[in-house]
Symmetry: C2
Subunit: 245 residues, 2 copies
Amino acid sequence: MPRYKITIEYDGTGLVGWQRQDNGESVQGTIERAIEAFSGEKATLFGAGRTDAGVHARGQVAHFDIEKSFPTHNVLNAINFHVRPIAIAVVEAEEVTDEFHARFSAKERSYIYRIINRPAPLVLDGRYALHIPKELDHQAMHDAAQVLVGKHDFSSFRAKECQSESPVKSLTRIAVTRDEDEIQIAVAAPSFLHHMVRNITGTLIEVGNGKWTKKDVQEILTAKDRAKAGPTAPAHGLYFMKVVY
Amino acid sequence: MPRYKITIEYDGTGLVGWQRQDNGESVQGTIERAIEAFSGEKATLFGAGRTDAGVHARGQVAHFDIEKSFPTHNVLNAINFHVRPIAIAVVEAEEVTDEFHARFSAKERSYIYRIINRPAPLVLDGRYALHIPKELDHQAMHDAAQVLVGKHDFSSFRAKECQSESPVKSLTRIAVTRDEDEIQIAVAAPSFLHHMVRNITGTLIEVGNGKWTKKDVQEILTAKDRAKAGPTAPAHGLYFMKVVY
């Protein structure tokens, strides 16, 4: 029984998120329907990360098993044909052994949060980045972010609905960089809590606008209290970029 | 009488192009209406480059004169308020002397043409880049493009409707680079013929897919015949990036 690993891009704008739901189009549900349409088989799609409604992906990874075997470029083209017109595309497909699991074999996941920091409204990036008119100090954001690197109890950055067994996670790296008007927050970790990147972003924005300092971020982390941290940054600035296996 | 220089971003998707027209929303017409709405004055907007329908801009430049004087951040905010919901934004505004002319003072204009080169359809970039599924040799494209650098008769890359007095232009530089799936063609020149960047792109794509060589591009240039060159690449991959004064 062949197992296929697929790498997926999507525009989260009109989607209810990764997970199959009754109230709208999900990435998982849409691709499962496409698999059935071309193979005639009902498969379950296992994803590396359950992105929320509105979050984009450049490199989500998932796997599924079907009875019949197909050349991988047929798998790619057939899914892409059947998902239309929903804004989801399989950008790579390969056959893997049944030891591979998109979720459990993942060693590192990485995300980017995009902020366009300028007075003018966004007309090319409005759906794909957060607009912050007031100037942010990205170097202060980068510096403060470094207190989060390493193994910590991230309860202050955890959504109430988070289903993770433990609030302890190991943040591998976080970098805040600026290229003209665009600030990017790039984070990587073996795994994340629910809303963790968006909650870290919401907190770092408060550092960038001068409300908080690196010391405040340290205290927020130590408090293990979601109420101490900044707001959850909007979904549309976030991209699930890559999974390392 | 103050003169304002504005730098403009737009999503060309729904626009008829830079120039005021009766059949739809233009950048020029929309901003002229916005200027009148906030200042009460009818002004003419002079642009650095007359982009076609569908072409985007990150750094179009224009100027206009009005009787009353306003702080530049008010000019920026007021135009951005009144152009809504059309996807045009003034990203910078400054007051200049009447020696400045957006079109005639320009020393260099630069464009980027974006191609996403992969089998999978585009879901995040579909409106903002040309999709070419078959692999292109971007190094061959870059190499062939170098024969275009310098002062030449660019008749082979000139639209029939071009109103320029002469087909002779000086291409300052052209670079074809690749970053993963994305190929960018970056060009700069004091000025361009109508459709010149899109016609050069259409020709370089034929080099990238192996139909033509560097020698063919040289012969196409020398022929001074539009029929010899490649097709006009679609508008939606093109961005007007910057003007140097």
